[in-house]
């Protein structure tokens, strides 16, 4: 019988630990309560005793690797001890369960896991059989609730039975991204508003000014123009640059404009923030974008560089795609998505012309904003992008 020992929270509220060393190796026979590993947590280096007697099948981590609380630490082929066989039977009133599962297990009879068990059967029938068997043998330790939880988690580790898998531990950056985006997606009711801007004029301006900028070693992209256009559009649509304080039931409208932009760094998505973007010219913005993006790729961004944002812009245009549904960078109110500029036939003054078209999305927090406000912001943004003279005034 195979037993998977998940790494427990050996402190108070720990989430992970680092394997310092293993005191056993694959194939070793271990005795219940024998120390098998030393694991360093945020609090201390702790010795971990095995809950079962048997043979070590898999050590799921190498020394030096990080193990998350609740993840499999070691798999043991169990050896039944005399004590375990002698578990006393507890009388049950749950006769229906006996019918449903053929034979009610020890843990079920102890009460409390009936509901879980039936649900499990529906969802993960083949795997569940193993768990039932294990329970019948009285093999799983823990109380009803813990057993149910383990069983639900267990299929995660069953992929190997269908084919080869590669297990990649989540890096700290990936973990932070996962937590942050889950929180944003789960708490903010997102709405995506889509539009297109004719940026032919802006394209020409940028082509011309690009050369001027190059002389100053600045790479001029569209982003600084778009940042300026956003700030101009915020003037009449201030809620796009706000945050919701749900606890105090306040919308906090910010009178400063710190614009974050997404960088696809090797370690994952990072969002450096340009502080006081409204005080900066297009060229100054371009220079700062360049510096921050380089720092992001060289892993040199400080927490300071990434904090204090009021609005975020994500640009997937360089990679491709017509549009996407970006997730808001909580606690901000909205995120602007930019996509690839395409030559498109458009009707202008009754004639079909080929123009440079930039697809745009604005994902907004529907708790703060309604669709009309977001559309008004988008219109203002388009006006500024389609008439770059207004932005050029700032270009130095």
């Amino acid at each position: 019988m195979v037993f998977v020992f998940n790494f427990p929270d050996v402190g108070e509220g720990l989430t992970e630990g680092t394997v310092v060393k293993w005191l056993v190796k694959q194939g070793d026979n271990v005795k219940k309560d024998q120390i098998i590993a030393e694991i360093e947590t945020a609090k201390a280096v702790v010795e971990i005793p095995t809950p079962k007697t048997g043979k070590i099948i898999t050590l799921h981590y190498k020394a030096g690797e990080i193990v998350k609380v609740g993840q499999p630490l070691v798999t043991i082929e169990e050896q039944e001890s005399a004590l375990q066989k002698k578990i006393p039977e507890i009388k049950t009133e749950e006769k229906k369960v006996e019918k449903a599962t053929g034979k009610a297990s020890m843990a079920e009879k102890a009460g409390g896991v009936v509901g879980f068990l039936e649900e499990e059967q529906k969802v993960i029938a083949p795997k569940q059989k193993i768990h039932i068997e294990r329970r019948e043998q009285g093999m799983l330790f823990g109380k009803g609730k813990e057993i149910a939880k383990q069983s639900i988690d267990a299929p995660k580790i069953g992929f190997e039975s269908y084919g080869k898998v590669l297990q990649i531990p989540l890096s700290s950056v990936r973990t932070a991204i996962a937590q942050h985006l889950s929180q944003s997606w789960q708490t903010i009711p997102h709405v995506m508003h889509y539009d297109e801007a004719d940026v032919t004029e802006l394209w020409n301006v940028r082509e011309k000014e690009k050369k001027v900028a190059e002389k100053k070693n600045i790479k001029l992209t569209f982003l600084p123009f778009i940042i300026r256009a956003c700030i101009a559009a915020f003037k009449d649509n201030p809620y796009l640059n706000s945050s919701l304080d749900e606890t105090n039931r306040i919308i906090v409208v910010k009178n400063y404009y710190n614009i974050g932009f997404a960088v696809d760094a090797p370690q994952g998505l990072l969002v450096p923030v340009i502080k006081k973007a409204d005080d900066k010219s297009v060229l100054e913005l371009a220079a700062e974008i360049q510096t921050l993006a380089e720092k992001a790729r060289d892993k040199k961004l400080s927490p300071e560089d990434m904090s204090g944002g009021t609005f975020t812009i994500t640009n997937i245009g360089s990679v491709g795609g017509l549009a996407a549904t970006p997730i808001i960078n909580s606690p901000e109110a909205a995120i602007l998505g930019l996509y690839r500029i395409l030559d498109k036939p458009v009707v202008r003054n009754g004639k079909i012309e080929i123009r440079k078209i930039l697809p745009l999305t604005i994902s907004f927090d529907h708790r703060i904003l309604d669709g009309a406000q977001a559309a008004k912001f988008m219109n203002a943004l388009k006006e500024h992008l389609e008439d770059p003279d207004r932005l050029l005034v700032d270009l130095s």
Partner: protein, 372 residues
């Protein structure tokens, strides 16, 4: 056990240098080598000595098992008692069944001695409130985690005893850290003013998590604090089960005849970490720990029993086996308890459930899985 004559306290041995004492008396009867000062040793039957030894081993084994269970994720945070067994067994030994005990959170030996099964301790630290339901007539309050909060409770119980003109006493445990809490002062003062039958047992284990005894108080001893509240304080070797017993016995007798409270400072040592979330190596000198391992109350008592021909290796093997069985059986019983009903979270705080709690209970009940 009938009350003992207490004349032996007049012949206390000279004060030990290492213990930096003040005006209060210090009592040691059984030294580290298991040598006993027979002149002042209270009379204790052989069967009681065996019982105490077995309890010490049961406590040690339960403690070790609890630690392993915690490291395996089968119970949550708990505080090991290792090193303080004599302080608890000696003091509970001087009480009658009708007396009350108020504990802090490291009183595993006291609980076991009072008849609380190991599975209750496992359940408590496994997050199951049913662990605090002790067998009928145990006369012991549940574990109190907030430091010092239990001391006024004990004084309240003692006051009740006095008002009801009972002859019982209430004994309360706390640590050196608790003596810096306001609760300690208030409780001691009240007990002194009202001359209550309360026995304050401070298990001074030298460390309040990482705060050393020297940083806890500028007083030369904790026992002397009693003087300020108008009653007697005594310092005893807390790793000497006879000294603890003798001092408690005297305090109990005094309390029963209306002569008020006593503070007993059990000078002992926490051989393990503060709790399973602590790493004492970060703040404690290993030499200090090594020196205290030599004073281990269990080893000392064993040496004495061996000299008295009560203990031998065969006896040890037999009780080890018996106790191992008891502990393992309790682990199984604990793990077979299942999950308590959700009402358990609400039912035991008030005599009558207030409307706000009723509302919360109804709310949470919605999420309970339906049994078909």
């Amino acid at each position: 056990m009938p009350p003992l004559k207490v004349s032996y306290l007049k012949n206390v041995p000279p004060i030990q240098k290492e213990l930096k004492l003040s005006s209060v008396r210090f009592l040691q009867i059984l030294d580290e080598q298991g040598n006993c000062n027979e002149k002042i040793k209270p009379k204790i039957s052989e069967s009681t000595l065996r019982e105490w030894y077995k309890l010490m081993v049961l406590t040690r084994k339960t403690d070790e098992k609890l630690f392993v269970l915690q490291r395996q994720g089968r119970i949550s945070t708990f505080a090991q008692v290792k090193g303080q067994e004599a302080s608890q067994i000696g003091s509970v030994g001087a009480l009658q069944k009708e007396d009350w005990i108020v504990q802090a959170f490291r009183e595993t030996a006291a609980m076991l001695m009072r008849g609380v099964p190991p599975k209750n301790i496992m359940a408590y630290y496994g997050g199951d409130g049913r662990g605090s339901v002790y067998p009928e007539g145990t006369n012991m309050l549940p574990i109190a985690i907030p430091v010092g909060s239990q001391i006024p409770h004990a004084v309240g119980i003692a006051w009740g005893m006095k008002l009801k003109k009972e002859k019982n006493v209430c004994l309360v445990y706390f640590g050196d850290g608790a003596t810096s809490e306001g609760d300690f002062h208030e409780a001691m003062n009240f007990a002194g003013v009202f001359q209550l039958p309360c026995i304050f047992v401070c298990q001074n284990n030298q460390w309040a998590i990482s705060v050393p005894r020297a940083r806890q108080t500028a007083s030369a001893s904790i026992a002397q604090k009693a003087v300020a509240y108008g009653f007697e304080g005594i310092q005893v070797d807390g790793n000497d089960v006879f000294a603890v017993y003798a001092a408690t016995q005297q305090a109990v007798q005094k309390a029963r005849v209306g002569k008020g409270p006593t503070l007993i400072e059990c000078y002992t040592y926490r051989l393990a970490d503060h709790t399973t979330s602590d790493d004492a190596k970060r703040y404690r000198d290993e030499k200090e720990v090594a020196a205290w391992i030599k004073k281990d109350p269990l080893v000392r008592f064993k040496k004495y029993l061996e000299k008295k021909k009560i203990w031998n290796t065969k006896y040890e093997e037999a009780i080890q086996k018996e106790i191992e069985g008891i502990v393992e059986r309790n682990v199984q019983e604990y793990e077979n308890m299942g999950v308590p009903p959700v009402e358990y979270l609400f039912n035991h705080m008030y005599k009558e459930m207030p409307p706000a709690l009723k509302e919360q209970l109804a709310y949470i009940k919605q999420f309970e899985r339906k049994k078909e």
